[in-house]
């Protein structure tokens, strides 16, 4: 009953979305305000409808309705209720419905206002959002239906949506259970964060398309969606970091990022999104790079859909991928259609998108931002090439050859170094015009301190020159950015007669995006410390130990004490847990407990490392194997991961920075008009 109801509501929301597309396009071309309004209302209606459909699915999940195939696949009786709810996005069909629900929510949030001043955008924004929604809902309705049930037909169990003739419903005793890897708290929120990021990028894209279609190619569309792109970026970044943390905690291979195609698929829209975040500022301040912003937003949208496609179609070999599914060709068609239409529109509007100003100086802030964009694009090209290479090689040589992490690391490292250098220089450059002399004068102190730091590190920590270059750049960016905070606050302190801290907080409050951005730059540098530590100084060892034996690694001594194995029938898990004594330079530090959890329902296990984390390094122990009969010997793999904690510290600061930058402070419409005025008044100054 509930299953039919849920399916019916999904079908209705699909039809409503189709109506919205038609009404929006027809209304816009016939200039019928009432039709456009009707399409907007249709768009708004999809959100409550999909919410009801999703509610039905959650009801089925929570109440063990195993006759529903999706419920059977992703839940089991032993799972706690919150996991049964989050199992909503634990499988293909449910996650597509989840995607649709988020999209409907965001599209509603955007269209709930009537956009009186920008009414010409409205139908096209509704159209783009609805077309995307139609696509996702269409897959749910026709191909990946989470409401399909099992039926007993002539003695065989078959999945069908509606009752076949003479069939009775079949209810399995218990479900298959969610993949244990997905039961980790990080994994519970990692996919929705990525989806949130993916879906929010639909909104800037929709406005960009609206701007292209209507021919209103000023920076209005950028201003309207600026905060959307920031939030989208926040969610996407947070999703990526969570994924890394989850891999570090659960996958048990000692790392957080493996350059897996699916990781790269999520990283690519992040790259274009980051470039977009920077280049929109140039269009706002200088009226330049209009073409470029269009291209970036289109690329981001295409990569979002492409990334979703890659994880679900089995095109690429990956440890992540979903099972093979019939929706691959549909995704392919959708990506092709939207990409071709978008490119055609940009080409058509190319003459109207010309910049209002010319680039004057190669060291001006806009030039440096453009360089930053080019570097991000280079990383994108490397990633894309790496992902596509197995296909290219198979096409031309017949042999599928893959590029491994070393390819990505070697190719991207110098570009990341270049980006770091830019992070150190660009904040000091002025809009319009800068020279080597002005930049040098602003920079030399920070550069000198960074050099001193590097020399100290050379003497006390490492002689690895690549790491030293990295540390120099990190120190440079941190000092330059800190100096920016200092200089701004001091200037305000003097002019407004405030004390230093209130001057600093007011300064930051007035320029949220700028100072939020600086906080993000510093957080990126902290993350870079962690990445550098892992890349340059990670050590590992492996060995089979009898009880009482010890392994030495980088000053640590790890002694195998005992191993215990027990069943927790309530949770449906068998735990095997080793106890290890940890010493550093002979001093006892405590115990660590690497373990392996075996889940009975899904017959899969999960390797949980024992990890001792400090700011200097992590000691990370994995229980690889043991002899079950004697419980005497066990194999361990041990990593020492220097500085990796800075990666997580940086991630937290990153969140702070981006929330600071994206926090809604005033009514957006009022703010836009206010900013518009203040901007034209202050444009000639180089201060911002």
């Amino acid at each position: 009953m509930i299953a039919e109801f849920g399916y019916g509501i999904t079908l209705v929301s699909f039809l409503v979305a189709v109506y919205s597309v038609v009404a929006a396009v027809y209304g816009a071309t016939k200039k019928s305000a009432s039709l456009v309004e009707s399409s907007r209302r249709g768009m708004l209606l999809t959100f409550p409808l999909i919410t009801i459909a999703a509610g039905s699915l959650i009801y089925l999940l929570v109440n063990n309705h195993f006759e529903v195939a999706f419920v059977y696949e992703v839940t089991s009786r032993s799972m706690p209720t919150y996991l049964k709810i989050t199992a909503w996005w634990g499988g293909q069909a449910g996650s597509l419905l989840f995607w649709s629900w988020l999209l409907a929510a965001f599209a509603s949030a955007v269209t709930i206002r009537k956009w009186d001043r920008d009414i010409e955008f409205l139908p096209w924004v509704v159209m783009v959002c609805s077309v995307t929604l139609v696509f996702f809902l269409g897959m749910v309705v026709f191909y990946e239906n989470p409401f399909t049930r099992y039926w007993l037909v002539n003695g065989n169990v078959e999945p069908h949506m509606f009752q076949p003739a003479l069939a009775t419903i079949f209810t399995p005793q218990d479900g298959n259970g969610l993949n244990p890897l997905l039961r980790h708290p990080g994994m519970v929120i990692h996919p929705p964060m990525l989806y949130l990021g993916f879906v929010s990028y639909v909104i800037p894209y929709a406005f960009a398309m609206a701007a292209l279609i209507t021919g209103r190619t000023d920076d209005r569309w950028i201003r309207l969606t600026r905060r959307w792109s920031l939030w989208a970026w926040l969610f996407l970044s947070f999703g990526l970091v969570l994924g890394g943390r989850w891999a570090y905690d659960v996958l048990g291979w000692g790392g957080y990022w493996g350059w897996d195609p699916v990781e790269i698929a999520a990283f690519m829209p992040w790259l274009t999104g980051t470039a977009f975040l920077h280049s929109v500022m140039i269009q706002e301040k200088r009226g330049m790079l209009k073409h470029w912003n269009m291209i970036l937003v289109i690329l981001t949208y295409a990569l979002v859909i492409f990334g979703t496609f890659l994880t679900r179609s089995g095109v690429l070999s990956s440890v992540h991928a979903f099972a093979n599914s019939p929706i691959g060709p549909l995704f392919m068609a959708f990506v092709s259609a939207t990409l071709i239409a978008s490119i055609a529109l940009v080409i058509y509007r190319w003459p109207q998108l010309r910049g209002e100003t010319e680039m004057k100086s190669m060291l001006s802030r806009e030039a440096l931002f453009l360089l930053n964009n080019l570097l991000f694009m280079s990383v994108l090209v490397i990633c894309f090439w790496g992902v596509m290479f197995p296909l290219v090689s198979e096409l031309f040589t017949g042999q599928k050859v893959t590029v491994g992490p070393p390819f990505y690391e070697r190719a991207t490292a110098p570009i990341f170094a270049g980006l770091m250098f830019l992070m150190g220089v660009a904040p000091l450059s002025a809009w319009g015009h800068s020279t080597v002399k002005t930049l040098g004068r602003a920079m030399w102190k920070s550069a000198l301190i960074a050099l001193v730091v590097t020399v100290i590190l050379f003497i006390t920590y490492t002689m690895n020159y690549i790491a030293l270059i990295g540390f120099f750049l990190i120190a440079l960016v941190i000092f330059v950015t800190a100096q920016e905070f200092w200089r701004g606050a001091r200037a305000r302190q003097r002019s407004q007669n405030e004390n230093f801290f209130s001057a600093l907080s007011r300064l930051m409050g007035r320029n949220r995006r700028r100072y939020g951005g600086y906080i993000i730059h510093i957080s990126m540098m902290l993350m870079a410390i962690g990445i550098l530590g892992m890349e340059a100084f990670q050590t590992s060892t492996q060995g089979e130990l009898a009880k009482g034996d010890a392994l030495d690694i980088s000053g640590y001594t790890v002694k195998y004490r005992e191993l215990a194995s027990w069943d927790d029938t309530g949770k449906g898990v068998n735990f095997t847990r080793a106890t290890m004594d940890i010493y550093k330079n002979g001093i006892y530090l405590g115990q660590l407990h690497p373990r392996i959890d075996y889940y009975f329902d899904s017959q899969q296990n999960m390797t949980i490392p024992g990890n001792r984390s400090t700011f200097k390094d992590d000691l990370y122990i994995i229980l690889v194997d043991w002899q079950p009969t004697t419980a005497m010997g066990a194999t361990f793999k041990i990593f020492v991961n220097p500085l990796v904690n800075w990666l997580w510290v940086g991630s937290l600061l990153f969140l702070v920075g981006i929330i600071f930058a994206a926090w809604p402070d005033r009514d957006p419409a009022e703010e836009i008009s206010r900013r518009g005025i203040s901007l034209s008044a202050t444009q000639p100054s180089a201060a911002d």
Partner: protein, 189 residues
């Protein structure tokens, strides 16, 4: 689109457009090609496995042969393990697979075959040396084997084929212990 082509000063020049479109279409074509490759029919448990060739890596052989067909092994239980040197979960099971092979290799009733999926010879060699793998290993030339077996999720995956050449079991993801491998083989016997 005639507007801006006639106005070459401001629009996108026609040859640039041609290049852009060739590039975009080529790219989409490439992805479509990959997609077609990924849309193979499923290898079905309980059905015979179609034959394929194995050309072992340097230093590997089975009963003195450096090259063989899957059908040459009929009458034995075959454990086909698909792996790659870039695959981290594979490293987790590699020592167990080798340990299990040590148990079965003298019985001459069970054969392990490693198939290296999408890899470089240098990487493969390093991996095989690192884990001291001694059962026969072959590259998956032209991704032929994995497409016949229909790699389902990623690597590692292990296929158990019975004495009649019928696919009996598929393990997706790494084995967690030697016992797990043994019990899977025993279930076929």
């Amino acid at each position: 689109m005639t507007e801006e082509t006639s106005n070459a000063k401001h629009g996108v020049p026609i040859w640039t457009q041609v290049v852009i479109w060739i590039f975009v279409v080529g790219l989409l074509g490439l992805v479509a090609f990959g997609l077609r490759r990924a849309q193979n029919p499923m290898a079905i448990v309980g059905k015979p496995v179609p034959d394929f060739n194995l050309v072992f890596y340097e230093g590997y052989e089975y009963n003195g042969k450096k090259e063989m067909k899957l059908s040459d092994l009929q009458g034995k239980i075959i454990v086909v393990n698909i792996w790659a040197s870039w695959c981290k979960p594979c490293e987790q099971e590699a020592p167990d697979l080798q340990a299990a092979w040590q148990i079965y290799k003298d019985g001459n009733d069970v054969v392990f075959v490693g198939v290296d999926y999408v890899d470089t010879p240098a990487g493969a060699n390093e991996y095989l040396t690192k884990f001291n793998i001694s059962f026969p290993n072959a590259p998956d030339l032209k991704s032929n084997i994995s497409s016949i077996l229909n790699r389902q999720m990623g690597v590692p995956e292990t296929y158990i084929i019975d004495r009649k050449g019928i696919l009996q079991n598929i393990k997706i993801g790494p084995f967690s212990s030697v016992d797990e491998i043994k019990s899977m083989i025993q279930s076929v016997q």
